[in-house]
């Protein structure tokens, strides 16, 4: 992976750091088993009700690879930039992660280019030599799936919501064209669409060896193919773009459906969550509050405008401006959100 030109992503380490706690996972099976047992004990020792959010991330800090934080024992997450795709960020603008079991690894989302995927792959290899059995896509959007190509290997299965195959297939050509233009030829090199083949229609448990992760497909919300991943051992949920933090939400499904799914998820306890954008680890259900407020505000304001026979263009000029200072990239996406929400809500 040597490059002739500076690249904004952290460079892979020359060698694996020796004897960090997680680095032990890269050792032989007996050492792994011992460590997993210790990790489980450590998790059990956490006081009930403690919400290890960002503070824990900072405290843990020690990661065998700068691309990821170990946000819980055996659970790693990468914070993507809060930005649109650019040559500078090479498509690294969504949160990604992976979960390490006794026998195998599951990767959750792969970034917006083969290069970002390759960095995540290097991070996995800095932690463990175990096979990557699953690559899970939380939904079809390019910033989450265009790194898939870097994980294609014998024995690796790509997994997603049962509607992701149709959604991604229909958009693949366009996603590639847009990302090629936005990233430029070098950052885009090697990027292609890999469509998941294991399609999830009902909550499904995958076993990584002594570690079960539960995949839950949701009704139409952010998109029509949102999937969440829960690590049972640590109570960590990867939410994909069902939760945005800092980055303004983008509506590509149903605003009404999204609020329902958020309310359902918020009732489900979790020790921490990984949002699709924002901090790599957040407290739950607090992380859902700002986005739920945003969706609620624009729904209420649009409903009022529709009741007053106001038009789509009037709505895009006035709705939701109280939210302007609460989000990054507001100008890039808010108008489109109002358009989409208006077109949906006028059919109520």
């Amino acid at each position: 992976m040597t490059r002739s030109r500076p690249f904004p992503l952290p460079a892979p380490p020359q060698a694996r750091p020796p004897f960090r706690s997680s680095a032990l996972l890269t050792g032989r099976a007996d050492r792994r088993s011992i460590l997993m047992a210790l990790s489980s004990l450590a998790a059990l020792a956490l006081p009930i009700g403690q919400r290890p959010g960002q503070a824990e991330t900072a405290a843990r800090g020690a990661s065998p690879h700068p691309f990821v934080d170990e946000i819980a024992p055996g659970v790693y997450a990468h914070r993507g930039e809060i930005a649109v795709a650019s040559q500078q960020n090479a498509g690294d603008h969504a949160n990604l992660g992976f979960i390490v079991g006794r026998d195998a690894v599951a990767v959750v989302d792969t970034g917006g280019s083969a290069k970002v995927g390759a960095h995540l792959h290097e991070a996995v290899r800095a932690v463990t030599d175990l096979p990557i059995r699953y690559v899970i896509n939380t939904h079809m959007h390019p910033d989450h799936v265009l790194g898939n190509a870097s994980f294609e290997a014998e024995g690796t299965t790509f997994v997603g919501h049962h509607k992701i195959a149709r959604g991604l297939a229909a958009r693949a050509e366009r996603y590639l064209a847009v990302y090629e233009q936005d990233l430029g030829p070098e950052a885009f090199a090697g990027t292609k669409v890999v469509i998941p083949t294991q399609l999830i229609e009902a909550p499904t448990t995958l076993d990584l060896g002594g570690r079960e992760i539960v995949l839950t497909p949701h009704p139409t919300a952010h998109t029509d193919n949102d999937l969440t991943v829960r690590d049972s051992q640590t109570g960590t949920m990867f939410l994909g773009d069902l939760v945005f933090a800092e980055h303004i939400p983008t509506i590509d499904g149903s605003i009404l459906g999204w609020m329902v799914v958020l309310d359902t998820l918020a009732a489900e306890p979790a020790e921490r969550v990984v949002p699709g954008h924002g901090p790599a680890s957040m407290a739950w259900p607090d992380a859902a509050k700002p986005i739920r407020r945003y969706l609620g505000v624009i729904t209420d304001e649009i409903r009022k405008m529709i009741a007053d026979n106001r038009t789509l263009s009037e709505a895009t000029q006035s709705v939701g401006h109280s939210e302007k200072d609460a989000w990054e990239l507001f100008d890039a996406y808010h108008g489109r959100n109002v358009s989409a929400a208006f077109a949906e809500l006028e059919w109520e």
Binding site: K163, A165, A170, E173, R174, A177, D224, L312, R336
Partner: protein
């Protein structure tokens, strides 16, 4: 999915258009700057109107469109034809120069279109930075035009369907509204009424590639929408793929005895959808 020879040729055409669109995307014209620099209007004008001359005249027609669209697949357009012109206008054509199928639709007005200020408001797809035009044809054969430049990209080739299953299950569902209050005040002041027709339809453009099958999703869209008031035509619109998913039209009409609005729409599969609505309280 496709039946009949007529549809087959349409599909072939769509596929060609799609390939042309892909080529433009590949050549870096995705955001349209280079394509819009080239003035293709003279050629289009000839294709659409033959030897007749189209004259820019904003005293006869005005067009409102966002300079930068929030959503390229859902760009709101408002056409206004002032009262002194409207009674002489028999036809309105909307054109988006750079779209794969530039003619959005032809609106042919009937007696119930009325004679006050005439307003047509709808939503269109804009595939790349383009001039958007509203051209009215008067009963003495003049063609008068208003033009706006719109910055948008990808409106035709992007799959706009946010929930494919819901969109397909609902196709043909209709809402017809008699608008009241402030939104219709300007129309009411000139003795007109304002209505809104919304029809659920995916409006497949034929430009959307299914990567899994390698085939473009065949075009499937509303070919025509007829709107009448108390049995008299307000207008008939013959449209194409540039009308947004779930076509949505607000329009003025002359007040009648009952103000019952009836709508008949037909799509490219030959399916017919109808709706009828009386004003609330009647």
């Amino acid at each position: 999915m496709i039946q009949g020879p007529q549809n087959k040729s349409r599909f072939r055409f769509s596929r060609l258009a799609a390939l042309a669109a892909s080529a433009l995307i590949a050549s870096g014209a995705l955001h349209g700057a280079s394509a819009a620099d080239e003035d293709i209007w003279p050629a289009l004008e000839k294709d659409i109107f033959g030897a007749r001359t189209v004259t820019e005249d904003t005293s006869a027609v005005t067009l409102d469109a966002p300079y930068r669209a929030d959503d390229a697949a859902l760009v709101p357009l408002t056409v206004r034809i002032p009262a002194h012109v409207s009674e002489h206008v028999k036809k309105l054509t909307l054109v988006i120069d750079q779209n794969p199928a530039p003619v959005v639709g032809d609106f042919t007005f009937g007696p119930a279109a009325g004679s006050g200020e005439r307003v047509i408001e709808t939503r269109v797809r804009v595939d790349m930075y383009s001039n958007v035009r509203a051209i009215v044809e008067t009963d003495d054969g003049r063609l008068l035009m208003a033009t706006k430049f719109v910055k948008a990209a990808g409106g035709c080739s992007a799959p706009a369907l946010k929930d494919t299953d819901a969109a397909l299950a609902d196709a043909g569902r209709m809402q017809i509204r008699h608008l009241a209050g402030e939104a219709a005040a300007a129309a009411t002041a000139t003795g007109q009424r304002m209505g809104q027709v919304m029809i659920r339809h995916p409006q497949y453009s034929g430009l959307q590639l299914n990567q899994a099958t390698g085939y473009y999703i065949p075009a499937k869209f509303l070919r025509s929408i007829d709107i009448s008031r108390d049995g008299e035509r307000v207008f008939r619109v013959e449209g194409g793929i540039s009308l947004s998913e779930d076509p949505n039209i607000r329009f003025t009409y002359a007040s009648g005895a009952d103000d019952t609005i009836e709508v008949t729409a037909e799509d490219t599969d030959g399916r017919t959808f109808t709706g009828r609505a009386e004003p609330k309280g009647s």
